[in-house]
């Protein structure tokens, strides 16, 4: 391997690593706030990518039906709960989000002819369709189990993953899609060619990480979310709704997932079930950070990307094996270093 190849592989590895890092951050966030190990994270990647691909192929994305159905289901749940507590007045905002908003989004997607839109608007519309699914998934699957143990939540997370993959096959079909890159530009730094999409991925990831940092460090809402992660009882006593915090965490996770999907769609062909493997690599990164540390999780994920890239050169048949074997020494090291990372506060 000469320097040229090494740099190219490094570029690939960094690109993928940036995506894994985003997913790792989302996993840490969701776990911290809700104690859910968010296995379905990857599905949002696939949904984001395939929704964008549908628009570009002038097809109505199946995400639309999913959004309408999930929104309807959530509305039923909420109205039921409100009836039981005899407080119908409180459901108006829920219905707005779960019925009116999906209907509006559907109308725009069907009637607006997005195929003719500029790419940026297609991306926005894709996000607008996929992101609300996050809080809906939380409402349907996890909110009723808020007090359950980490293990129960994990089992439910696996179930949700399987359901979403199944739905993915149903609405997108089995064939894969690839979208055109955000920019065709490519330029050379020294002797290596850097392509435009790589720059896009890196810059967009950095911007996203930066805005997450500002959100969590500077805004009251972000601080409230962190507080919920640190101490649920304390947060509730401050008037922070843990349900809202859960929904926000899932919303951010869905946003990060869908956005990653949109970013990665021009680089790899995405199938309805591609998300899982991508999410799993983010998961390896998150595990390196013990599911608690954001910077270590992100660094771990970048490392996973690089390792994957170089091992695909040396032993491409074993690249997944090598990546996932990385988790063993890390787990060993963590288990020696710390006693436990679950249940307690």
């Amino acid at each position: 391997m000469d320097l040229q190849v090494a740099l190219l592989l490094g570029q690939d590895g960094l690109t993928n690593g940036a995506i894994y890092a985003l997913l790792a951050l989302a996993l840490v966030l969701v776990f911290a706030v809700t104690r859910v190990v968010f296995i379905p994270q990857g599905e949002f990647v696939a949904f984001g990518a395939l929704t964008l691909a549908s628009f570009q192929a002038d097809k109505t994305p199946g995400t639309l039906w999913l959004l309408l159905a999930a929104g309807g289901l959530v509305s039923l749940f909420e109205v039921g709960a409100a009836l039981r507590r005899r407080k119908l007045g409180l459901v108006a905002p829920t219905l707005l989000w779960n019925l009116a908003y999906p209907a509006l989004a559907a109308a725009i997607a069907v009637l607006g002819h997005p195929v003719a839109w500029p790419l940026a608007f297609q991306v926005l519309l894709s996000l607008a369709l996929v992101v609300p699914l996050g809080p809906m998934v939380y409402r349907l699957a996890f909110q009723p189990l808020a007090e359950a143990s980490v293990l129960v939540l994990l089992i439910v997370a696996v179930a949700v993953h399987l359901v979403l993959v199944g739905l993915g096959l149903l609405i997108f079909g089995a064939e894969g899609s690839r979208t055109p890159p955000f920019s065709e530009a490519s330029f050379e730094i020294g002797s290596i060619a850097v392509n435009g999409q790589t720059v896009w991925v890196l810059v967009a990831s950095l911007v996203l990480v930066g805005s997450l940092f500002v959100f969590f460090d500077r805004t009251l809402r972000g601080k409230a979310l962190r507080a919920t992660a640190l101490n649920r009882t304390g947060a509730r006593l401050m008037g922070i709704s843990t349900v809202k915090a859960g929904k926000q965490a899932f919303m951010l996770a869905a946003l990060i997932g869908a956005f990653s999907g949109v970013l990665i769609a021009p680089i790899t062909t995405i199938y309805y079930d591609s998300g899982f493997l991508i999410g799993l690599k983010g998961f390896v990164g998150a595990i390196v950070g013990g599911l608690t540390s954001y910077p270590i999780a992100a660094a771990g994920a970048v490392l996973v990307g690089l390792l994957e890239s170089y091992s695909s050169f040396w032993a491409s048949a074993f690249k997944e094996v090598i990546v996932f074997t990385l988790i063993i020494p890390v787990l060993l090291w963590r288990s020696l270093k710390s006693q436990d990372i679950d249940e307690h506060q």
Partner: protein, 247 residues
């Protein structure tokens, strides 16, 4: 307890953990602008009572009126926004966050009501009461001393502009000098019109401060009366104000 409009009225409250009931048919009233204290042995159910009022522990029976409105079914968040604030026994600080951030979050319930603008002056007010916190405002709250943590918990509650402040053993583990200071602060809060429900092991000090008192025994109200009456009650003196009870 006639004459004052009640800010909190709890009727026939039963609550507990799972199937175990820890509170049986408790009636309790806090008059507006009063200090009401709840006294009882370890395990009598004092913490459970405050948690059940707040909605942290499930209520299996009973009703609750706050400022004359039935809030039996209200969510915790709503109660907090209405100015009902609990400083819990375990304090429940946000350990990894700084003192300043902990304080800031104390007023989260009012984030839609122009909290941003008043937060700074409220923080200054709290720092005025607890200058120690000002010195440590960037320190993570987990690294504070026990006493500083109590101050932070109380300060954080004040950020929420309580109308009814419920304190679960605010003097727990504090040096006598600071205990006196805390009690002075409670007194001052009352003068500002805050109603206070105070759970306290130090029965003598609590009775000196309070207008009215309840004695809990194994989850039931065993005695109640105005603070001076109870302080003179022979049964009370024998069980709670003897050598073990006071200082």
């Amino acid at each position: 307890m006639s004459g004052v409009a009640p800010v909190l009225e709890v009727r026939d409250l039963c609550a507990g953990y799972g199937r175990v009931e820890a509170l049986h048919h408790v009636d309790l009233v806090v008059g507006s602008g009063q200090i009401v204290t709840v006294i009882g042995a370890n395990g009598a159910g004092k913490t459970t009572l405050l948690s059940a009022i707040m909605g942290l522990v499930g209520r299996s029976r009973g009703s609750m009126f706050y400022e004359g409105v039935d809030e039996s079914e209200s969510e915790l968040e709503k109660l907090v926004a209405l100015g009902m604030i609990l400083v819990p026994e375990k304090r429940e600080l946000f350990g990894a966050m700084s003192v300043a951030d902990n304080l800031l979050l104390g007023g989260y319930a009012r984030h839609c009501q122009g909290y941003r603008d008043e937060a700074k002056s409220l923080v200054d007010e709290v720092f005025g009461i607890f200058p120690r916190l000002r010195e440590r405002r960037l320190q993570a709250s987990a690294t504070l001393s026990g006493g500083e943590r109590q101050m932070l918990a109380l300060g954080r509650a004040l950020m929420g502009k309580p109308k009814l402040l419920m304190l679960d053993e605010p003097s727990l583990g504090l040096a006598p000098l600071i205990v006196r200071e805390i009690f002075l602060i409670i007194e001052k809060l009352r003068q500002k019109g805050v109603s206070i429900l105070l759970v306290e092991q130090n029965a003598r000090a609590a009775l000196q401060l309070a207008d009215y008192a309840y004695v809990l025994e194994t989850g039931e109200v065993a005695m109640e009366g105005s603070a001076c009456e109870l302080a003179a009650d022979p049964k009370m003196i024998a069980s709670y104000l003897g050598l073990a009870g006071g200082q």
